[in-house]
Every structure is written in C-alpha cells, then in structure tokens.
C-alpha cells in the first residue's frame, strides 16, 4: 500500500466519494469505534483502513480520541455541513437570476 495515498488536497466531496469511507461513516453513525474494531469490518489491511480514517479526520467528518491504548473515532458535524453549501448556494443563485430574467422579460412587455 503506497504511503502517499492520503492526499491532503482531498476535499469533503472526494472524502465521501469512496465507498469504504462511506461505510466507515455508516458504522460510526451507530456508535463510536476504535480503529481496530473498524478495521475488522473490512477486507483491506489495517494501514489501508487507517488511511481512510485519516482522510475522514482532516476533512472534518470524524474526530479521533486516544483513550488508554485505543484510538476512538467519533462522527463530527463539520464535514457534513460543507455538503449542503452547494445546495444553499444554488438556491439563492437561481432565485436572484430568475428575478433578473423576470424583470428583463417584463421590460420587454412595457417597451412594446
């Protein structure tokens, strides 16, 4: 497994584009889990699972807490918040633009 696969340039959208990472989030939605117990759910190596976990951590989907000798993963809101930004953006965007189209076409009427 190449060491450099966790590209820091990945964003929230790419973070959840991967099925394994979505599976990790799904598992964590039920309870917080250690990296070891998460890894048990996958066929891939533990370092590979760790890599996915790191990506989810720096994109804000999970946080990792050291308790004793174990590393616990918990879901975090930040990454999810980013996902709705596009929808919110386009909602406002289209409202503004359609208003412009309306006034443009309405002017057309008055000019006639």
């Amino acid at each position: 497994m190449p060491q450099n696969m966790a590209q820091p340039s990945l964003d929230e959208f790419q973070a959840i584009a991967d099925p394994s990472r979505r599976q990790i989030l799904r598992l964590l939605s039920k309870e917080r889990l250690t990296i070891n117990s998460l890894a048990e759910n996958f066929d891939m190596s533990r370092p590979a699972v760790s890599k996915h976990i790191k990506i989810l951590e720096y994109t804000g989907f999970i946080s990792i807490e050291d308790i004793g000798r174990e590393r616990y993963c918990t879901l975090k809101q930040d990454g999810f918040n980013k996902l709705q930004d596009w929808i919110a953006f386009f909602d406002t965007f289209w409202k503004d633009k359609l208003k412009k189209l309306e006034s443009l076409l309405n002017n057309k009427t008055t000019k006639k």
């Binding site: 959208f13 918040n81 208003k99 309405n106």
Partner: protein, 150 residues
C-alpha cells in the same frame, strides 16, 4: 429525500420568446452569466462568475448541452469545482417550457447533485445526524416552495 432545486415562473410571452432568453448567449449573459453557450447538443460551454472560495468554487461552470427541443425543453450538465480541473459539483439543469394561458410556464429543475446523493445515505440513520438531515430537508423544501409565480 428531495435532492433538487425547483422553480416555476409564468411569463406573458410565447414559449418562442422565452426560449430565446434561454438559448442565446447574449440574452443569457443579460440575466444569468457571461457564457459561450451554443444551442447544439453535445456542445461544451462555460458560465463565468465570481469565485466563491468558501464553497471551493473558482467561478467557472463547465457545462454540456444534453438536450434541445425548441421551444419546449433544454438541459445541460453543470460541473464546477475549486480549479485545476477538480470537479466537486456534478449536476444537471433542466428547463421546461409549456404554453399556458396566453403565456409560458417556465420550470427549472437543478438536480443530480452527486455529493448530495452520497450524503443522502445518511438519512434515517438511528444516531448521529437527525438535526442535519432535518436542516437540509428544510433548505430544499424552502427552495421548492419558494417558487416564484409571476
């Protein structure tokens, strides 16, 4: 879970007139954005707007004409991202024009937000995200019910 933005407007003009405003680059620029749109299926074109850094949007929308049925239906893909060819928004815009009451009913559906579809898998999960799911649901509903009828 609804994953699209929808608006319906009415114009006291024929579909042909409204169609012009959707398919002529100069007219589109007047209300939407500067663009190099051509009404040809398969044609790539771009909309240019101000970058939105907090959104990871460099201001360029990469579009491709998918469907043209004058003066009834127009659709194009709409992709965008932070730059360097990276795409984080992958969606589809569909315009439908219907002749009605001496005018035109224009409907816009912006959908296929792939990242939202990915997100949708979290809906209904027992723990974790009920508040967030509710929030996005409200947002989308507001967009839907906020339809403008002229």
């Amino acid at each position: 879970m609804t994953k699209s933005i929808q608006h319906t407007l009415f114009f006291p003009h024929t579909p042909e007139v409204v169609w012009e405003y959707l398919t002529t680059a100069e007219l589109l620029a007047q209300w939407l954005m500067p663009n190099d749109f051509q009404p040809i299926v398969g044609c790539d074109f771009q909309f240019r707007s101000k970058p939105k850094e907090e959104l990871g949007f460099d201001g360029i929308s990469y579009c491709k004409v998918l469907e043209i049925v004058p003066p009834k239906r127009l659709s194009y893909s709409w992709k965008a991202g932070p730059g360097n060819g990276q795409i984080t928004l992958d969606s589809i815009v569909v315009w439908t024009l219907t002749a009605k009451d001496n005018g035109t009913e224009l409907s816009l559906v912006h959908s296929g937000f792939k990242e939202i579809e990915n997100f949708a898998i979290y809906q209904g999960m027992s723990a974790g995200w009920p508040i967030h799911v509710k929030k996005i649901g409200e947002l989308i509903n507001a967009a839907k019910h906020g339809s403008t009828i002229a």
